[in-house]
């Protein structure tokens, strides 16, 4: 019942958030915070009770067995980690949105988003996975479209149509898979023997769906628009959860289900990953818009995730999952600070910024810490993530992966250059008349939580690795 309640309670509470706004404007945010804490407690309980390996907390709700249309919820180490990220971001995003306009509708949409998100990470029935997956688009569309920046409507429409189009390929892949395997259940699908041609077709169709969400470079164009136009807390959801859905789906429903086909396509994945890393890196280097730069660095990090997945070894998958966590924590912080910089200075452009450290040192210190983590400073999650990804890539692909550290240097390059121009140096003339003040306490708390989290998992990565390594090792047997 725990998992089902984690899905249903946010959705049930959501209408109350909307209607009780009329009673008191503060009720919606407290409801959202309560749900975030509820999710955290549930996840903590699940992690504490998790036996260490395999699927646990199975919940099976029969709906229509002949068609295999049953709600089957369960978690393993990987799902648990992502549920943890979901619960953590639910709390931090609520705190970051403390002073939002029209709180009723805003928190209604956040709650409606959280329930299906838990469903995505805990559904072990492919069709239900798709139902949850697809439904998350609707609240995101309204978040971007209503609370976004100047060009929000274009971004929201593009986001919805683009990702829905990708889901269509995923759905077709699911249909072909069902007609050949006659099941949607993960446990029955693992290790299934299909005709290689059909399996490759299914793999490609599903990969398009996941690759757009991740995003992988030829399919990435929705992301910079969506991220830039979305309000910062929603950018956190986009980067921290929506992109993870793509990577998680790829791992769970393609790599685990079709190990041999994935092996066949591994060079394709690795090539796309390297392309993503470099393309996004260079775009970030050329970018003057600070939030767009963070968005490209987010794509760059997801390239690392894909590269690690493409190695198809236990080490690679472990690294990919860790990098997913690190990305969620680090990029969230950067998006929030980029949003605050715009809020305070009314400009997005790095060339119009300068010397911010002199006026708002606390915020900028947190920004610098976040940037260093994104670059891969030892002691933060960024370092562990990138380092393990590179190890796995070297291990599998050999010397050709010498180019990946170069990409890392590139990412260090664009971030440091940005810091030097925007944060340090003399204060710009145009910023002198502005009243630059530090954030109120409530908005600093989530930022501090991100920093504490990524330093904690960066210093003691075994906490995270121990959670899911047994699962990864079990599945790694499939690639032998």
């Amino acid at each position: 019942m725990v998992l089902l309640s984690m899905i249903l309670i946010p959705v049930i509470v959501a209408p109350f958030a909307w209607f009780l706004e009329r009673v008191n404007r503060d009720i919606p945010k407290y409801l959202s915070l309560a749900v975030g804490i509820f999710l955290s407690i549930c996840t903590a309980y699940l992690i504490a009770k998790y036996p260490g390996n395999g699927f646990a907390f199975k919940e099976f709700y029969t709906i229509y067995p002949p068609f295999d249309f049953n709600l089957h919820l369960a978690v393993d180490g990987i799902s648990l980690l992502l549920l943890g990220v979901t619960a953590f971001l639910a709390v931090t995003v609520t705190l970051s949105s403390w002073h939002v306009e029209r709180p009723g509708a805003y928190f209604f949409l956040i709650l409606v988003f959280l329930g299906p998100m838990v469903g995505v990470f805990s559904s072990f029935n492919l069709l239900w996975f798709f139902i949850f997956w697809e439904f998350t688009l609707v609240p995101m569309f309204f978040h971007i479209g209503i609370w976004g920046a100047e060009n929000r409507i274009y971004a929201a429409m593009k986001f919805f149509i683009y990702t829905h189009l990708a889901s269509v390929f995923l759905l077709l892949g699911i249909i072909v898979l069902y007609l050949n395997a006659h099941t949607f259940e993960f446990e029955k699908l693992v290790g299934i023997n299909l005709d290689p041609g059909i399996a490759k077709l299914i793999w490609i169709l599903m990969f398009i769906g996941f690759a757009v969400k991740m995003p992988v470079v030829p399919f990435h164009t929705w992301l910079p628009d969506a991220h830039v136009q979305a309000p910062s807390p929603i950018s956190v959801f986009l980067a921290g959860l929506l992109l993870k859905m793509g990577a998680y789906g790829l791992l769970r429903w393609e790599i685990f289900v079709f190990p041999q086909v994935s092996k066949f396509f591994a060079p394709l994945m690795a090539t796309l990953a390297v392309l993503t890393i470099f393309y996004a890196g260079f775009r970030a280097l050329a970018e003057d818009h600070i939030k767009r730069m963070v968005a490209y660095s987010s794509i760059n990090h997801m390239g690392f995730v894909l590269l690690a997945l493409a190695s198809l070894t236990a080490a690679g998958i472990s690294a990919a999952v860790y990098e997913m966590l690190g990305h969620a924590l680090v990029i969230s912080l950067l998006f929030m600070v980029a949003g605050y910089i715009h809020h305070k200075t009314h400009t997005w452009y790095i060339s119009e910024l300068g010397g911010l450290m002199k006026r708002i040192p606390l915020l900028m210190t947190m920004f610098v810490i976040g940037v260093l983590a994104a670059v891969g400073l030892p002691g933060t999650a960024g370092f562990v993530g990138e380092f393990t990804v590179m190890l796995a890539a070297f291990d599998y692909w050999g010397w050709i992966m010498i180019i990946v550290p170069l990409a890392s240097a590139l990412s260090a390059g664009f971030f440091m250059w940005m810091l030097q121009r925007a944060v340090f140096g003399p204060l710009k003339e145009s910023l002198k008349e502005l009243k630059l003040t530090e954030l109120p306490l409530i908005e600093n708390i989530p930022l501090a939580m991100y920093i504490a989290a990524f330093i904690f998992v960066g210093l003691i990565p075994s906490v995270v690795f121990n959670l899911y390594n047994p699962v990864v090792n079990t599945f790694a047997q499939l690639f032998k």
Binding site: I63, P66, I131, L172
Partner: protein, 461 residues
Amino acid sequence: MLLALTGAFLPVINRLFRISTLLGAVISTFGYLLALFFVLISDQGRTILNSFFTTDEVSRLIGVLILVASWMLMLVVYWIVQKDKFVNELIGSVMISTAGALLLICANNFVSLTIAMELMTMPTYLMVLFSFDEKSIEAGVKYFFNGALAVGFILFGVSILYGLTGEFTFRALVENLFSDPLVALAGVFILAGFGFKITAFPFHFWGPDVYDGTCPGVAALLTGISKSAAFIGLMRVVFEAIPVMAPHFSFIFALIAAVTMTVGNLLALAQKRVSRILAYSSVAHAGYTLVAFAALSVPVSITGILYHSAAYAFMKTAAFLSFAALLYIWGARTMDDYKGLGKREPILAALFLIFLLSLAGVPPMAGFISKVFVFTAAVDAGMTWLALLGLLNSAFSVAYYIWIAKQMYLEEPTIEKPINDTSRVWVVIPLAVMAFILIVLGIYINPVVDASLHYAAKVGF
């Protein structure tokens, strides 16, 4: 039949006793409840009137759904038409037409099929004229000629079949028919006749003009309920009467389906008026259902047809009714008028959004799972290209559905004051019931799939 009687006598009773109009709605509600009761207790596998009509799982299920949809339609329409017009006559016609639809889904014989179809269509000829303006007269004339042409086609096809076999009943036809060019010709004529009813390409031209020209409450009945019933009728013809020709028709269906959905979606994208968008989207949805017809060699095609008809009856009727309500209350006709309606009318707009998302195929509404079945059927029958085309169509169709959502929620309001400030409660409750049923049908798939499996077993899969 009882429904038809209530419907037919309603205007008479009211004229005789000068009953206030509210009581008319109450009386017709009793009619609906009685009809629902009779549909629910009807025995399975019975034939009525010497094999004119049959009752089975399909007729019971779709009968219930059509009745509920029509009942909700009646309740909404009652509140959103000008009271000085002939409300009772309108409601009476709705009920007679619904009775025709109920008979059509039970028809087991070409004679009863044609009669039921006429019973369903005849009142709508009057209803299309209901708003008494130039456009509705044009729509009415167009609709009448197209309807007459459709019946002509069907009768011609039926007469060929009768000439060949001397039989009208489906069961006798199955036994006597053989693969023959003349049978194929008859099949093509019957198909063309149905093509008019379900607005399949190239017989779709009248659809948007009529749905746009008439008052939207009537359009809701025409696109939602009548079309769903016509789908079921076509399903019975294809699977029960002329299965010998079915393999030859598969490709024709596929072709018509591909063109219909593409044309419908492309034209819908180009529209400025919301009623025309909904009308062309209804053409596109006819295409999706025909995809399931194209896959007629596999049993899941029946599930697809049935599910899509069931979901379609609700979501299209409800979408048109929401449009009708917004038109009546706010005078919102074009996309520009829809700007900011989400702020002005939060609950109605939210319901409209649910119906639009269901039409677009976003889970967990019934429109999603019905599309899954339709395209599963296509892939199962080896027509992956058709499924891909359909899914791409469905993805692009999202553009105009979400465009309406964008106008309602993301833009600033342009209209300041409502033109008719009626009570929203009685409009919202029936629509909320329909939204609830849509979501339930989208998750609890058992009744429809069970009925379709029974029917598949009955027609010999």
